[in-house]
Symmetry: C2
Subunit: 213 residues, 2 copies
Amino acid sequence: MIMATVRARPASARKTRYASATRDDLVRSAVALFTTHGYAGTSLDVIAARARVTKGALYHHFRDKQDLFEAAFSAVEKKVYAKLKKVLATSENLWVKAGLVVREYLQSCLDPAYQRIVIHEGPVVMGWQRWRDAQEGLSFGVIRDAIADLRAAGGLSGLPVEVTARLVCGALSTAATMIANSPDPKRVSEETEDAVVRLLGLVRAGAEAQGLR
Amino acid sequence: MIMATVRARPASARKTRYASATRDDLVRSAVALFTTHGYAGTSLDVIAARARVTKGALYHHFRDKQDLFEAAFSAVEKKVYAKLKKVLATSENLWVKAGLVVREYLQSCLDPAYQRIVIHEGPVVMGWQRWRDAQEGLSFGVIRDAIADLRAAGGLSGLPVEVTARLVCGALSTAATMIANSPDPKRVSEETEDAVVRLLGLVRAGAEAQGLR
DNA sequence: GAAACGAACATACCACGGGTATGGTGCGGC
DNA sequence: GCCGCACCATACCCGTGGTATGTTCGTTTC
């Protein structure tokens, strides 16, 4: 029984020392499957199969299913973070910049992966505390900083920054969910942006009127 | 082998024809366990045991685990709905009433059961669409109506009601989650209410300033 | 009034999926 | 050249959702 080297690997046997590549494959596979079928609806065997490995490899790189989920979470979050950071680099008027960040974040929230993994299943799978901490230095940090700038510039007298940022994020993610699940995303999207811009305008008008008095 | 009537029932054998009571027991048990251990972390056997029955009884009253979850969801939602309805019955100034509703909803969101079952796990377990529909006639309906009144009264020029209501709910539920998971709920709660009231004030000021022009 | 019927459960069993224990293989270090 | 470890596959265990079937007892029907 010689049969040479053709072991019954999941196909296209990877040689060796490609550990990080394997890890990335697993994360990509997890992101795709968690996005379409959810955390509970995706088995580890299927994730591993899509990455052309077995559960053994998976458990070599990750402690458990939750650990893999967190890796997928981070991967998705980092992309959005990069986009927001780029928008924030433009040096316009603070209020204008706030509008841009809001617009960009709304757009990011439309990504199915971000929506399901980060917004919806994140707090359930990871637990809210851990979910919050994981976002601290990423997309949420950007939004919080924007609001802090706004406050420092004089508007928003005495508004607690952290809390307000959370409120804004909550509202926006809800909005994005609404858009994504709408039968007519185009229309709802415009309506939502309109509403957000209007509200932002009202707050600005209120802040200025109050500031003048 | 006579042994009389003493069957090995899960203790305290219920006679018969107490079907609705059994159902309620199961729902109460589910609410309690889902609240503390989450949907995935709670087995049907444990739920049944707490209700002093077996899985057989559970599957007689509910199609599957998800069906039981929805029953628990409805039970929790109805309580909050009743409270909101009561607050809305007071006939004060519309803006004052809006403030009261916001305050009451925030308070309701602090209930661990409402927080975990309705806000967090609801959309994940039931799917967002179904979750949205299930809330339509309950707590969300109350908030949407309040905003509709506000708009009809002249303020909030041309704001889309449905969308705005979703934004408000999203922000408030996020706020409540933040409060509940804070190491110092008392302080964060006050801070949050302060922020919400301030923002509401800003919007009102903006609306009035804009309305005067 | 007893036989038939069905609601309201209990019991026994299966399949699937997360997790573990163990085995194998090739590369780097000495 | 052999040792050890990273890297991964295979085999297995067990908790859990779901199903199929059995059992009891009140209600109905003739």
